[in-house]
Symmetry: C2
Subunit: 249 residues, 2 copies
């Protein structure tokens, strides 16, 4: 793990890093408490580790809750080289979107499934590297939060990675593999569902919620589109993560 | 409407009343604010307007949030005379419970459906009478909360009564009529589901949640039985009601 830059503003320290060819960023409070939770943030499809919404939420988690937050670019995202097959999927998505958003579903299922396959070991390598740092260590409870592609990656990651103690997922286009991964999830999970989104059919998220084997889970439906998570919903998610990460600590 | 008693403790004023043959109780803050919400509380099956859990929650709503809270006895509950058919249902429920809790479902569907038919006009008459009081009036946003039988009555009431602006429902045995009533509900609704209850199958609550036509709704699954709503879940419900009643005000 190499740190490539460090800056600080509004009591938040931002450090960019690489782990092999993974590019990432970690935000920590200027005054960090040993044992405060570490949140892994998965960005949306087509976005990157410094997407504006993700950064705003990360800063909120750091300044309000004292968490550390880390984000990495998904394969082929945020300036990471995009392979030929990924480029074909991206082109197909653009064409489908122009014809009608609901046509994107089957392409997204293939593309996001492939991205998740590759992103899970990258998250694991990133977590290994972070936990090897004395200032992070292995004692911090680890949570995950993500939306759209970040939900897909997160579901597969949480199903595979026992170090994650609680997770929060935003709207997602549901495909069969997600339901299979969900069946392997037993940690507390929180879902946000946008009820009036032109691109993401909300109803299948109820199936996804049902499929999660977690005994403790929450689902919130809000009016509007997937980019418009209302403050109450976001606060609810924060409280959910905080409660379960404290319990895990 | 006749008030039959008034007492006060811990800054909560408790007044018992009757409206025709309905028996009820209203809790208000000693220092009441005009326009603070009024919450209608529906008790569980077999319980009454002063069930310990209901009273504890009412006191919390009054002292913490400044709400007024009202509860009435369902027909044949809390000392109200039980008619012959109700007695037959109660006897059948006792026998079914002894043989296996899941046998209670069909009896509960019939009995609770009948109770809801009768309880809805009673709630409406109670609300009429309360709103005619100068100290309550018609400007307060009205919410509803209930569990088991209280959920059944609440679903039918909310489907029929436009004065209710938001509602919170606890675990319930779902039967077909509930799904029909839910389809007529468009106000914000919050559901709590106990995932490990020997008497109430939790899965059908996902269908009930789906059936509600509300654009803004939340569902929380918690481990354990229906009598054990955890603090976080109850707080979430309070926040949900508070947000939507403020919006309605």
């Amino acid at each position: 793990m190499y740190f490539t830059s460090e800056s600080s503003s509004n009591r938040v320290v931002e450090r960019h890093f690489t782990v092999d060819d993974i590019t990432g960023v970690i935000w920590t409070p200027e005054t960090d408490s040993a044992g405060a939770p570490l949140i892994l943030c998965g960005h949306s499809g087509g976005m990157h580790k410094q997407a504006p919404g993700l950064v705003a939420h990360a800063q909120h988690l750091v300044t309000r809750h004292g968490y550390s937050v880390v984000a990495i670019d998904a394969p082929g995202h945020g300036g990471r080289p995009r392979n030929e097959q990924d480029q074909q999927w991206v082109d197909a998505l653009r064409a489908a979107r122009a014809k009608g958003p609901r046509l994107m579903g089957p392409i997204i299922a293939e593309y996001n499934s492939s991205l998740a396959e590759r992103a899970v070991p990258e998250w694991q390598a990133t977590l290994d590297a972070l936990q090897a740092l004395p200032e992070i260590g292995t004692e911090r409870p680890v949570g995950y939060g993500g939306t759209t592609l970040g939900t897909v990656v997160g579901l597969k990651l949480v199903a595979a990675e026992p170090r994650i103690a609680a997770a929060a997922f935003g709207p997602v286009i549901v495909f069969d593999a997600l339901l299979e991964w969900a069946k392997q999830i037993t940690i507390p999970v929180d879902f946000q569902v946008a009820w009036e989104d032109p691109e993401i059919d909300p109803r299948p998220s109820l199936k996804l919620f049902d499929a999660c084997a977690s005994r403790d889970k929450a689902l919130h439906v809000y009016p509007g589109e997937h980019r418009e998570t209302p403050r109450l919903a976001a606060d609810g998610t924060d409280r959910f993560l905080t409660k379960h990460l404290r319990t895990a600590a």
